[in-house]
């Protein structure tokens, strides 16, 4: 109603067009005429893969103003042919989840709640503890004198939803550090 134009008054359009009963083209608003899906107005579309199960369904991710505005099945994928299950279909909400936390949080021993810290501080603190834990539980030899060269002070769990490259980094760093208690859900 913002830009009312008398000639565009649907009553007149009813008279003008064949849509005398006012149920079709004569009542279309400007906004409706301008309808454009956000899949078209997106700045870019990138091809991706659904992060949930191992079927590996293709996804198309539509981005506008550096924000994900739509995720849908990729019809090009020979695996999924554009289809997604409810979880895959909810991926956009996963990305823009209301409950998502984007701050680094720290809880001191015995503390009752989290405090916010910045990322470099957190990584520095973790690095200190990493080194300390590694030394605390270092084992050079087993009781028969066989070399072990490992630490039992550090454990890790996870990996089936993070990238191969990330698992590679994790395994490489842990192994170089001598940490062996590395597992993922493949065995839980």
């Amino acid at each position: 109603m913002a830009r009312f134009s008398f000639l565009e008054w649907p009553v007149l359009r009813q008279l003008r067009t064949s849509d005398k009963t006012g149920r079709g083209e004569s009542v279309v608003s400007q906004q409706t005429r301008d309808t454009t899906p956000r899949t078209v107005t997106a700045d870019k579309v990138v091809q991706s893969v659904c992060p949930y199960c191992a079927v590996g369904c293709g996804q198309k991710i539509f981005v506008k103003d550096d924000k994900v505005v739509q995720i849908e099945g990729d019809p090009d994928s020979p695996i999924s042919r554009g289809r997604l299950c409810p979880k895959g279909a909810a991926s956009e909400q996963l990305v823009n989840a209301p409950g998502r936390v984007t701050d680094v949080l720290y809880r001191a021993p015995k503390a009752k709640d989290w405090t916010k810290i910045d990322l470099p501080t957190a990584i520095d603190m973790i690095a200190d503890r990493f080194i300390e834990a590694r030394r605390n539980h270092w084992e050079d030899f087993d009781d028969k004198g066989h070399p072990l060269r490992r630490t039992m002070g550090i454990a890790s769990l996870g990996g089936a939803t993070i990238d191969n490259e990330e698992n590679y980094f994790a395994k490489k760093l842990y192994t170089a550090a001598g940490a062996i208690q590395i597992e993922n859900q493949a065995r839980i």
């Binding site: 550096d66 409950g99 454990a155 890790s156 990996g159 990238d163 590679y168 980094f169 859900q185």
Partner: protein, 993 residues
């Protein structure tokens, strides 16, 4: 799968867990295939199946064994196929004794270690080592006759008695699979965690594979056994593993006392002298990995820094690690998109373990239960933990999601798919890649002046990666390292084209040999996205499959021994006389010019010596294994044992449970006493856990999403109207479920989809429990009690996957107690049942004579068996306290004083770690051919490394070798996957995103 004439979905709720994968089942059904769902529950899969066959959880081997028995008895097996393509005719050692004769034990059982010495399971061989065969299949020592004998008491009556399946349903199933097998038709099996999450998981799969081999359904279109996995890159996370016993590419982690030197290690991985196929180049793969990790510091003189690798000496899996945490043996814990407080079996044990840590890093999208257990977890509510007493430092680091970083996932059919980055991560969120990069840099920076030799591996590690303008690591550079590259020479720095280019002299580096080729020619092959309608249906130009973009396995069996198709209808791959090559609708998975009639005069010598009718080219003998002479920890032929905590006595043998299962005797991991033992009546019902379409594992990626949460908002249990009446439960009211370990509450969904079964004259009620909910996470849209808290930890000895599908328990109306009363409530049940850590954990239940006979049989031939590899256990499984030892669940056993259980566990891990090929083989036979609809690579243009590679001179026929080697590599890898990390995929249900 879409080509199948009959699909048996057993141990899987495919439509619910893999809706998009289920489209192929739908398609098969639309083409007229019969779909049968064998499952304790009537699920959404059943809803569009032709038939539901309700089964008691854990009795699958009885059913499948009875099918095998009847197929053998009535001669409905695919005779020509069985004779040509399986080891049915092979003769087994004279010392072999079957479970039929030892009341449930095979020959070779060692009661001290609760494990088998398996030399009596091996083939009889002639003086050249070639296996002896009886083509008539009449010899009582032939595999065929052993199989008949073994399953002779697996009858329809037994099925009715033990599985609760009506004879008419059994007949229907039998007729369906037999009518839909043979030359003209094929039947396909699909399974998932319903099978793997049992203490007999690997054997369930083997039973199905034996049946499928007998029916001639392996390696043929619309046949096989399909594994269904539940995580985006569960495959990738075993290929490039975050697993204690593996290095990338299924290279084993070196084991203390076994692989003390590089040569020892390489010998175990594979050398030309001891192995055939691709594993013969083990030294090159290992060297390339070491070069990739330690660069210039890895030299020939220091065995390429082999000593930088830490050693394992036992099982260091997540449950063993939790025990170590409880013993204060672990300081720090990283969780990478994982929610063990909800997702792991015996959740309380997990949370208590966390409270013993000094620090913990949780990387996730939201404050999952594993990040907030110290604040509002169930133990805070019960008073078992107090926030102000917990010393654990917690770090929560927000993670970037799949749109905010580039990288690859490897899906269930080994397809490596690149994801492009769409947006930048918000706030402080970052990818694991950046986190580990920065952590590595920080650690190295702090240690840079250290002269401690133990810090050398960290300081010498190659850790320089290009970063973009936002400071993020370029994931493609990592792909390139994984792919491998040349060092020195005129191609210095160029990516490898395939793994045959890897050398053992340090001239190549490569982070994961099976992925070599993913970055061939500097092109990111995983990022290929040629639309499916612009290529053939195999879609070889969509992403990249390892190895060498190979998409399908062993289809030689789709042709008769003479090379002609079994039938016009099931024509797939065949021998073309004119060109003298294998050809067909798919790329033949066989030496391309190896004629059907070709015979080798050698039992060894690699793929060049395969017979023309040895389709299962990854097996040592090219045959499908009906009987597994090696590789399985718990027996060469699948045998029915009751699940841990079963309320039913094993009707077949005195041996109630699997004698080799791994138990954890702990006060915080109590088991129900088991059938017939006083106290078992306290836990009369069977809980079986599962997942729903609307949620994802422990809920970290679904319970925070309103759209998914509203669809399944509350924790519920599914029970039959009969049980509801028996216990007095209101529909949609509350019930409390109690297991020997915990009590949870749930809404009651009374439904006829749950069927009470009559087992041994008694009614057995099964209760279905989805496990997606948890208590305490912050910001979750919905929460509820976690079904996994009910579970105990008892594991499959082959792969260490716990039993989630069978839990004994009871159900009472109303909500559970709150606060400390909950602890008393559970203890009341424990006392009533008289539980102790020994309850239900008796390893052997057959007579002493049978044990002795079994043990004796094994010792007679120990020469050929596996060496016993004990090792000291740093963690292992230690006995817990007795019941009055307090509730903290901390074992005060010293981790290094291993019990018998520990020893056996270590022994097992040693074996499977060291000899993945063997571990793999039996499962290999079981492995499905890839479903027919999966893609095929077009080797002409996929850059197959081995096509006529002139440098690879060890084999006479390069091309043929290539074929076989790739297959064998895959076999090896799958073996590793299936035999060890395995069933893996099978992932589980439990865990979290």
């Amino acid at each position: 799968m879409a080509n199948a004439d009959c699909i048996i979905i057993q141990g899987s709720n495919m439509a619910e867990c893999h809706p998009v994968g289920f489209q192929w089942v739908s398609e098969a059904k639309a083409r007229g295939a019969r779909i049968i769902h064998v499952d304790p529950r009537f699920t959404r899969t059943t809803a569009i199946a032709d038939k539901h066959v309700p089964i008691r959880a854990g009795s699958d081997i009885v059913l499948l064994g009875a099918l095998i028995n009847r197929v053998l008895t009535e001669g409905r097996y695919f005779d020509e196929y069985v004779r040509a393509y399986t080891n049915a005719a092979n003769l087994i050692s004279d010392d072999y004794v079957d479970t039929e004769d030892l009341d449930g034990l095979f020959s070779g059982f060692d009661p001290d270690t609760n494990s088998y010495e398996n030399s009596t399971w091996s083939y009889q061989t002639d003086e050249h080592g070639a296996p002896l065969k009886d083509p008539t299949l009449k010899d009582p020592k032939s595999v065929f006759q052993i199989l008949r004998h073994h399953y002779s008491r697996y009858t329809p009556e037994m099925v009715e008695e033990n599985c609760g399946i009506k004879p008419a349903d059994f007949d229907y199933l039998y007729e369906s699979v037999t009518e839909n097998s043979g030359r003209e038709r094929t039947t396909c099996f699909a399974y998932a965690v319903g099978w793997t999450q049992h203490s007999l998981g690997a054997q369930f799969i083997r039973t199905a594979s034996i049946l499928q081999l007998l029916l001639g359904n392996m390696g043929r279109p619309g046949g096989g056994i399909m594994a269904l996995r539940g995580h985006a890159t569960i495959q990738g996370s075993t290929d490039i593993p975050t697993l204690f016993n593996l290095l990338p590419g299924y290279l084993p982690m070196p084991s203390a006392g076994v692989h003390d030197t590089f040569d020892d290690y390489v010998a175990a991985v594979g050398t030309p002298e001891t192995h055939k196929g691709y594993w013969a180049n083990g030294r090159a793969y290992a060297t390339s990995l070491l070069k990739a990790w330690w660069g210039d510091a890895a030299t020939k003189d220091n065995d390429f820094a082999f000593d930088y690798l830490p050693r394992i000496n036992g099982a260091h899996g997540t449950y063993q690690t939790a025990v170590r945490m409880l013993n204060d043996g672990v300081d720090g814990y990283f969780l990478l998109g994982q929610n063990p407080a909800v997702g792991s079996a015996n959740g309380r044990m997990q949370r208590m373990a966390m409270s013993h840590l000094k620090w913990m890093v949780v990387r996730d999208f939201s404050l999952i239960e594993s990040a907030t257990w110290w604040k509002d977890g169930p133990e805070i509510e019960t008073g078992e933990l107090k926030t102000e007493d917990i010393d654990t430092e917690m770090f929560f680091l927000p993670a970037a999601n799949h749109t905010e970083k580039a990288g690859t996932f490897t899906q269930t059919q080994r397809l490596v798919q690149w994801r492009h980055k769409a947006v930048n991560p918000p706030g402080d969120a970052q990818s694991e890649l950046d986190f580990f990069y920065e952590l590595g840099q920080a650690v190295r920076e702090k240690l840079k002046d250290s002269d401690d030799p133990r810090d050398r591996p960290l300081l010498d590690m190659t850790w320089d990666y290009p970063v973009d303008e936002e400071g993020e690591v370029d994931a493609e550079a990592v792909v390139k390292e994984i792919n491998g590259y040349f060092i020195g020479g005129d191609r210095d720095g160029e990516p490898l084209d395939n793994f045959n280019q890897m050398t053992d002299d340090g001239a190549t580096a490569g982070g994961c040999w099976i992925y070599a080729g993913v970055y061939a020619g500097g092109q990111n092959m995983a990022a290929r996205r040629k639309p499916r309608d612009e290529q053939d249906e195999t879609a070889g130009e969509w992403a990249w499959a390892w190895p060498a973009n190979r998409r399908i396995l062993y289809n030689r069996a789709s042709a008769a021994p003479d090379g002609t198709p079994w039938s016009e209808r099931k024509k797939f791959v065949w021998w073309d006389e004119e060109t003298g090559k294998w050809t067909g609708k798919d790329v033949p998975d066989f030496p391309i010019e190896r004629a059907p009639a070709a015979k080798s005069d050698q039992a060894y010598g690699g793929p060049a010596h395969l017979d023309g009718d040895d389709p299962f080219i990854m097996q040592a003998d090219g045959k499908g294994w009906l009987f597994a002479p090696s590789g399985m920890i718990d027996g060469p032929i699948p045998t029915h044992y009751e699940p841990q905590e079963s309320t039913v006595a094993n009707p077949l043998y005195s041996q109630q449970n699997s004698p080799t299962r791994m138990v954890m005797r702990r006060e915080d991991n109590l088991s129900a006493p088991g059938a017939g033992v006083p106290g078992s009546e306290v836990f009369p019902y069977v809980f079986t856990t599962y997942r729903l379409t609307e949620h994802h594992t422990a809920g970290g990626m679904s319970r925070w999403l309103p759209y998914l949460s509203e669809l399944q908002p509350e924790m519920f249990c599914e029970i039959s109207p009969e049980l509801a009446a028996e216990v007095g439960l209101e529909p949609y009211g509350w019930a409390t479920l109690v297991s020997p370990r915990a009590a949870i509450e749930a809404r009651v969904l009374v439904t006829k989809r749950m069927t009470p079964l009559t087992i041994g004259g008694k009614t057995v009620h099964q209760i279905g429990l989805p496990y997606h909910w948890g208590v305490g996470g912050q910001g979750a849209v919905v929460e509820g009690d976690s079904a996994n808290d009910l579970l105990g930890v008892t594991m499959d000895p082959n792969v260490y996957i716990q039993n989630s599908k069978y839990v004994a328990g009871t159900i009472v109306p109303g909500r559970r107690p709150r606060g400390p009363e909950l602890v008393d409530f559970v203890e009341k049940y424990q006392r009533e049942a008289g539980l102790s850590p020994e309850s239900g954990n008796q390893q052997v239940t057959v007579s002493a004579e049978d044990v002795a006979a079994s043990h004796h049989a094994g010792q007679g031939r120990s020469a050929g068996g596996h060496a016993h590899r004990g090792g000291d256990s740093a963690v292992g499984v230690t006995p817990g306290r007795t019941l009055d030892g307090g509730r903290d669940g901390v074992s005060d056993g010293d981790g290094t004083t291993a019990s018998a259980t520990v020893d056996s566990a270590d022994d097992r891990s040693g074996r499977i770690t060291i000899e993945p090929t063997e571990a793999a083989e039996p499962t290999e036979a079981a492995e499905p051919t890839e479903p027919a609809e999966t893609a095929v690579s077009n080797r002409a243009d996929d850059g197959d490394p081995s096509d006529g590679d002139p440098d690879h001179g060890r084999h006479a026929d390069g091309s043929a070798i290539a074929e076989t080697e790739v297959a064998e590599a895959e076999a090896r890898a799958r073996a590793a996957r299936d035999g060890q990390a395995d069933e893996t995929g099978r992932e589980n249900e439990e865990e979290d995103d």
